[in-house]
């Protein structure tokens, strides 16, 4: 045990002192937070008001298409046409393309943003409906009161208390992101273990070490040491992301922040009256409403569990190959496959977190670290998390045991790469 600790300490210290570790630990969260805040910042920036010239010879729209001075202004008497609307200071020109005046075309100089298009589409269909209703002898006042009533016609109430205010797309996003992080780190740290083992084998230090330490102790020390490096990095990332994002929030426009506060102090408002808030404010409020302790706790568990599950297999691969990296590649293939497979399952089913594929994949240890993270934000039943965690623990004990047997023989074997048959023989023996 003492020797495992010594090996582990060496692995940990030499890696943490490395400059690349320091650099990647600091740079990644910085880049990530800058990217996210940048995106939020640009999304939150209010779009300037749009001026649209309308050519409506039949007058079917004029009564219903109301200008909204802050967002969109419709000018029915501009005298603009397709050739000169932009010179006259309009962002777009809306005109009927057929003689009946039933079909309109919006011509713009620059591509219109999604937000503008959504708003315009909304207005036009309202105007159309209103026009038709008027033809059926319903008065404008009646139409107005119907429209008003329709906006408070329904509210959404999730029966699940915890998730009341959590938007499902944010869930999916968080799950997806943690799944991706675990997916990537499994490769990074798994490959790190493999390279470490290969280094010990090719520099022949393995023989020196193994004359004082058992092969299994050497392998475990390496796996645990690199795992501790990974854990350190994750914790630093979490802390740094928290600090940087807190700082970055202060750069957000104040009205967004106020909206966030408003959402947080009035749970339920967001679902009943979503139009009131900007997308950015909703996103931030959703993020702060998630069950972070559970997500972070599970994230660390699945990161470690997945790492332990796969890293011993990577160590076994490292122990049987020689300098040639191509040999390693062909042996790594069966290890990488389930990881990639897990990622595919998660990404293609992220919107159906409770489908049978997701449930099974989140319990089987080959795929569970990635898939369970994808499901987590949608609160899977507690027993499923427990079973998934237990099977992952059992799984990594099994893989470590198997890998230890291959490692023990492989690390001292030079020359030809052993075949699968030989490796199975090593496992069976003793």
């Amino acid at each position: 045990m003492n020797k495992i600790w010594l090996v582990m300490k060496r692995e940990y210290v030499t890696r943490v002192r490395n400059k690349t570790f320091l650099l990647s630990t600091i740079l990644l969260p910085l880049v990530m937070v800058l990217f996210i805040t940048g995106a939020v910042f640009f999304a939150a920036r209010p779009e300037g008001k749009k001026k649209i010239a309308v050519i409506d010879k039949k007058g079917s729209l004029e009564n219903f298409l109301k200008s909204d001075t802050s967002k969109m202004i419709f000018d029915f008497n501009s005298g603009a046409d397709t050739s000169n609307f932009s010179q006259k200071g309009f962002d777009g020109l809306l005109y009927a393309v057929d003689s009946t005046g039933q079909h309109f075309l919006l011509k713009t100089q620059k591509a219109a943003s999604n937000e503008t298009m959504d708003r315009l589409r909304d207005r036009l269909s309202n105007a159309y409906v209103s026009g038709k209703l008027l033809e059926k002898n319903i008065t404008i006042n009646q139409i107005d009161s119907i429209n008003k009533a329709s906006s408070s016609y329904y509210t959404v109430d999730n029966t699940d208390e915890k998730n009341k205010n959590v938007n499902s797309s944010v869930n999916a996003g968080i799950g997806f992101a943690s799944g991706i992080i675990i997916y990537i780190t499994m490769f990074i740290f798994g490959a790190m273990v493999m390279r470490g083992v290969m280094e010990e084998k090719t520099t022949r230090i393995a023989e020196v070490i193994i004359s004082s330490v058992k092969p299994f102790q050497l392998m475990m020390g390496k796996i645990l040491g690199i795992g501790a490096v990974g854990l350190t990095q994750m914790l630093l990332w979490i802390i740094l992301i928290f600090l940087i994002s807190t700082a970055a929030f202060t750069f957000l426009p104040t009205d967004v922040l106020e909206q966030v506060k408003h959402i947080q102090s009035n749970p339920g408002m967001m679902t009943s009256n979503p139009g009131q808030y900007s997308a950015a404010a909703k996103g931030i409020a959703n993020l702060t409403n998630l069950n972070w302790p559970l997500i972070l706790g599970c994230f660390l568990f699945y990161f470690l569990g997945g790492y332990l599950f796969y890293s011993s297999l990577f160590a076994a691969v490292g122990s049987v190959v020689n300098e040639d990296p191509q040999e390693a590649q062909s042996l790594m293939f069966p290890i990488i496959m389930p990881i990639i497979f897990a990622f595919i399952i998660m990404s293609s089913n992220i919107d159906k977190p409770d489908s049978p594929v997701m449930v099974w994949a989140s319990i089987i240890p080959f795929t569970s670290p990635i898939v369970m993270m994808g499901r987590l934000a949608s609160s899977p039943p507690f027993w499923q998390i427990a079973v998934s965690m237990l099977s992952l623990v059992a799984g990594f004990i099994l893989t470590t045991w198997l890998a230890g047997k291959i490692y023990r023989t492989g690390i001292l074997l030079y020359g030809k790469k052993p075949s699968w048959k030989e490796m199975i023989k090593w496992i069976r023996r003793s």
């Binding site: 520099t203 022949r204 020196v208 004359s211």
Partner: protein, 313 residues
């Protein structure tokens, strides 16, 4: 009193009998030579003695008791033929790490490493990395890490390869000193002149089996061919009668002769004296270990043939 006793050790791999029933014993404080051509099974044998491999059959007694790798490896220092050190690690830290794995405390390791570094004039290397060292330098470092924990048994596999004569002598002297202080040394090499110089006792292994065992002197006598060199002031012009020898060759003012069956060296001397030859030297020519080695190993294929699997399984 033997420190190490190897009894009927066997280790079979899938395709060959790497070690096939080898027994020998190594006396405490002696320098023991383990010789053999490439692929003879020396490394496998050493790996069993160092606890890296478990023997298939037979047993090892270490210091009178059954060898128990878990407790006994701290009393063994092993320097493999292929040198292994962490390239990116600083030399001082590396030495401390390896000493700690052998059970030394950090402070203890530190003082001992410093002593050795001073002895080998390596003090300025402490913060360097192994990748900055020359082959000879890393060899010295490896030697230090092997003997640092004052093991009872030191196993050196080709310790002088890549060393210049000055450093070779430095390490050779240390090996003698370690033996004087009671360490037992197993020395595995192909370089016979070093074996003759250093070792008390040797065994020769070929194709997994021991084919020779004895002190260097005994072995040489065992393989002597009754060759003598006789130096003359002047080569005798004519020799009459029936000489008790066969002529093997002449060289300058020397005859090299092989004494015939049934005669003694004195008969040869008598013969020459009767002929009036002016003898200035008369020496027995013992075979060098190298000759013995070649004689014993020659004729067997240089690299071992792999047996078909069915033979063993």
């Amino acid at each position: 009193m033997s420190l190490l006793e190897v009894q009927n050790l066997k280790k079979y791999f899938a395709t060959q009998k790497a070690v096939d029933d080898i027994s020998f014993s190594v006396n405490k404080g002696s320098i023991f030579g383990l010789l053999g051509p490439n692929g003879a099974g020396k490394t496998t044998l050493i790996r069993m003695i160092t606890g890296i491999f478990y023997p298939d059959e037979g047993q090892i007694l270490f210091d009178g008791k059954k060898f128990n790798p878990i407790n006994d490896v701290v009393h063994i220092g092993y320097m493999p033929e292929e040198r292994g050190l962490y390239k990116k690690m600083k030399i001082g830290e590396q030495a401390i790490y390896l000493a700690q794995l052998k059970g030394l405390k950090k402070s203890e390791a530190m003082t001992k490493i410093k002593e050795w570094f001073i002895k080998f004039e390596m003090q300025s290397w402490w913060a360097k990395k192994v990748e900055d060292l020359s082959k000879g330098m890393s060899q010295k470092l490896q030697f230090v890490t092997t003997v640092l924990h004052e093991p009872k048994l030191i196993i050196l596999d080709e310790p002088f390869s890549g060393l210049d004569p000055v450093n070779s002598n430095l390490i050779k002297d240390e090996i003698y000193k370690l033996a004087q202080r009671g360490s037992t040394i197993i020395f595995s090499t192909h370089r016979m002149e070093q074996v003759e110089e250093i070792c008390d006792h040797i065994i020769l292994v070929n194709k997994g089996q021991k084919i020779l065992d004895g002190t260097v002197k005994d072995v040489k006598h065992q393989f002597k061919e009754n060759l003598f060199s006789i130096g003359f002031e002047e080569i005798p012009q004519t020799l009459n009668g029936n000489p008790p020898y066969e002529m093997v060759g002449t060289k300058d003012h020397q005859y090299i002769v092989k004494i015939k069956e049934g005669f003694k060296p004195a008969d040869v001397l008598n013969y020459f004296l009767q002929q009036g030859a002016k003898i200035i030297s008369f020496n027995e020519m013992l075979p060098s270990l190298s000759d013995i080695f070649i004689k014993l190993v020659e004729g067997t294929p240089l690299t071992r043939q792999f047996l078909p699997k069915e033979v063993i399984e």
